[in-house]
Amino acid sequence: MQTEIKISPQTLDIQACINWVMLPESGGIDVFIGTVRNATKGKTVLRLEFEAYEKMAISEMEKIATQALAKWPVQKLLIHHRTGVLAVGEVPVIIAVSAAHRDAAFEACRYVIDTLKQTVPIWKKEIFKDGEVWVAAHP
């Protein structure tokens, strides 16, 4: 298995993700860890709520993984995404990519997170003291 894709309501395990992509043949691992930020445009964020259209989200993430493997000489590629309520500092997403040489790992990892944000049907709601908003819903 060259890729592992998962959506989970449980806390994501960063070290387990890194271990999963590491191979004796690897020369480097690139990891992107998304974290819940405490503010948006100066407003204090209390928490985020993530929701996924799970079946389709998995299938869109599989497409992204397939594209990344076709574009770069990557050894293993992992995408884990959280759902549910996340506090500031918690981790909604981990992308981990191993490759023999760093360029492929860096570029593939960036491609995966950038494309995930554009195409994968997952939504986050920001909860403020005085209200809440679905991110990116309105122009």
């Binding site: 998304g34 993530f50 929701e51 996924a52 259209y53 079946k55 389709m56 989200a57 299938s59 995404h81 909604p92 997403v93 997170i113 995930l116 944000k117 554009q118 195409t119 994968v120 049907p121 997952i122 939504w123 986050k124 709601k125 679905w134 991110v135 990116a136 819903a137 309105h138 122009p139």
Partner: protein, 80 residues
């Protein structure tokens, strides 16, 4: 035909639930569905954009909808 539609994110708020059911002509397209929903739920038109997924794939406006399809409304995504 009557089709059930799944809603996520802000679409759930707009529809007032995570599924709604809509009556459509038998050879309706994705475009027809969007038009019909926008008449019933004008707030959809205020969104930055929204897509329709048919059987877990993004659909084009001209795609035909069948009664057995799984249809979902996909407002702007914001994962990561």
């Amino acid at each position: 035909m009557k089709i059930n539609i799944l809603a996520f994110g802000i679409a759930k708020d707009i529809f007032g639930g995570s599924t709604i059911s809509v009556e459509l002509a038998n050879d309706a397209s994705v475009y027809n569905l969007k038009y019909s929903l926008e008449q019933q739920y004008p707030r959809l038109k205020k969104l930055a954009t929204y897509m329709v997924a048919v059987n877990n794939e993004y659909a084009l406006p001209e795609d035909t909808i069948y009664e057995t399809d799984e249809i979902a409304i996909i407002p702007p995504v914001s994962g990561g």
